[in-house]
């Protein structure tokens, strides 16, 4: 018991954190505590569209951020052409509509946006998603919603193998007939696999 009492004096509660990842960039008031630094107010009625035909993933993601900073609340992405890593890392309220299919690792690490994909998504869509809503109108690939922490993930078609692997929170709704959850090592273990065919 003496040890615990001593711990309280060891400045665990009031020490100033140092180091790059723990640096305080801003002093949040209580109500701001629920938003990210650099968040912007967007107007959902303000709409813009971006043509993705000749854009790299990095450029497109930058353009989405630029539009967000200008106050556009609805961003329509045309011709995504199943490119990888589109629309990742958006930590803001935003309405994104992809008019086509996404490749691998689409809309990963998002926190907040509402996304509608009018096509199919590849591997690891919405990986590590924290909050928001994602609607996929076609099929989804493997590892759909891998490491999901929160938010709603809806696919109208089928989802691939290892759906929701490492999932810790949130909801995945599958409208199709097939998905598979477990990583199988052996045919005999198939009995343990939850699956609807």
């Amino acid at each position: 018991m003496a040890g615990i009492a001593k711990k309280e004096n060891l400045a665990f509660s009031d020490e100033n954190l140092t180091g790059r990842t723990q640096q305080l960039f801003f002093n949040p008031t209580e109500e701001e505590n629920y938003t990210y630094y650099g968040n912007v107010d967007v107007d959902f009625n303000k709409r813009t569209s971006i043509d993705c035909t000749d854009l790299e993933a990095r450029d497109l993601n930058q353009k989405i951020r630029d539009a967000m900073k200008k106050g556009y609340g609805t961003v329509v992405i045309k011709n995504p052409g199943a490119k990888h890593s589109l629309g990742v890392g958006i930590l803001n309220k935003l309405n994104i509509i992809f008019e086509g299919s996404l490749g691998y690792f689409g809309i990963g690490c998002i926190d907040g946006p509402t996304v509608r994909v009018k096509g199919r998504v590849g591997w690891s869509c919405a990986e590590n998603m924290m909050a928001g809503k994602v609607l996929v109108e076609n099929n989804a690939g493997s590892c759909f919603g891998a490491a999901l922490r929160g938010g709603d993930l809806i696919v109208k078609g089928n989802a691939g193998a290892r759906t929701g692997i490492d999932m810790k929170g949130g909801t995945i709704i599958i409208g199709g007939k097939r998905w598979s959850i477990y990583w199988l090592h052996d045919a005999k273990r198939k009995n343990y696999c939850l699956r609807r065919c």
Binding site: A82, S101, R120
Partner: protein, 313 residues
């Protein structure tokens, strides 16, 4: 992290060379080392097409042993002599590079004997023999290889292809995919993944008398399928068997003169995207490859673990 692709056009002959080039160019980022095509033209009623090489493409190697033109000429004449000895009559021959040749020939004897003897010539490897199959592989990306071998105008029904990122064996032609299932005409394989029981299986198959030209683990799938077919097992059944007997992570695509098949392992760890319609089936490691031949919106899906699919022309 290789890239594989396959396309099959049902009941019609199209410019499959250009289709495959576009798909494989879209997969270049998955493997820039070498590119290979196995294309299926209209099957010949009489005679065979043989693709073979008599040397390596050593352009990128540090300690390259470059064969002199005299050596190449000598090897080619040895091959010609062996073909003559077996009664194979070469009707047409052409070459795109100093080391790779295409022969059309009439032959009635045993293909295994002929192929085995041709490969006794130093550094000579038969890439393919078939009535419709033409197998091309070389270093470089899809467009480089297609231009080098004049694939742009290849007319056919189906084809498979591979862009390679070498992980366990050398960057050269003999370790590049696709692999022909020696000595079965018109069977070829491309593979994405790693096989963990390669050496064990290889020893078993070597004892049965099968030949291995490289140390590339993918070669075993071609030999494995060939071994099954030699025992009269159907392609689809052989592919189902391979899921249990081959170990590791893999997705592979097999083509025969009128079929295209894909198999995915129990862990489903290697990607594959499939588009199926009445006229055409396309499968590739990534959807970007399929998008290169279908710019409009299409419905694609992922196969599940331990799934085997076979499509007919």
């Amino acid at each position: 992290m290789c890239g594989i692709a396959g396309v099959i056009n049902r009941k019609k002959t199209v410019n499959v060379g250009e289709q495959m080039r576009l798909m494989l160019q879209g997969l270049k980022h998955r493997g820039p080392d070498s590119t290979g095509y196995a294309m299926y033209g209209t099957p010949k009623k009489k005679g065979f097409v043989m693709r073979f090489k008599i040397s390596e493409n050593e352009a990128e190697k540090v300690n390259a042993v470059i064969d002199s033109p005299e050596q190449l000429k000598d090897r080619k004449s040895q091959v010609d002599a062996i073909m003559k000895k077996h009664g194979a009559k070469v009707t047409k021959q052409s070459s795109s590079t100093p080391y790779a040749f295409r022969y059309e020939f009439d032959f009635k004897g045993d293909l295994t004997d002929l192929a085995t003897e041709i490969e006794t010539v130093e550094k000579t490897e038969i890439l393919s023999i078939g009535k419709g199959l033409e197998l091309i592989k070389d270093l470089g990306d899809a467009t480089t290889v297609a231009d080098q071998y004049g694939l742009g105008k290849f007319m056919g029904t189906h084809g498979i292809g591979h862009t390679r990122m070498a992980t366990e064996s050398d960057v050269d032609i003999k370790s590049a995919h696709p692999y022909w299932a020696f000595p079965f005409e018109d069977v070829s394989v491309v593979h994405n993944g790693q096989l963990t029981n390669y050496w064990g299986n290889r020893r078993v198959l070597e004892r049965k008398g099968y030949r291995f030209n490289s140390n590339c683990d993918s070669e075993i799938i071609a030999v494995y399928i060939a071994d099954k077919m030699a025992r009269g097992i159907e392609l689809e059944q052989a592919m189902h068997d391979s899921l249990d007997e081959l170990d590791g992570v893999f997705t592979y695509v097999v083509a025969t003169k009128d079929q295209l098949g894909m198999a995915k392992d129990y862990m489903a760890a290697k990607p594959m995207v499939i588009y199926e319609s009445k006229d055409i089936v396309a499968c590739a490691s990534e959807e970007v490859a399929i998008r290169n031949i279908f710019p409009h919106e299409i419905k694609t899906y992922d196969p599940y673990e331990a799934e085997v699919k076979v499509w007919q022309v």
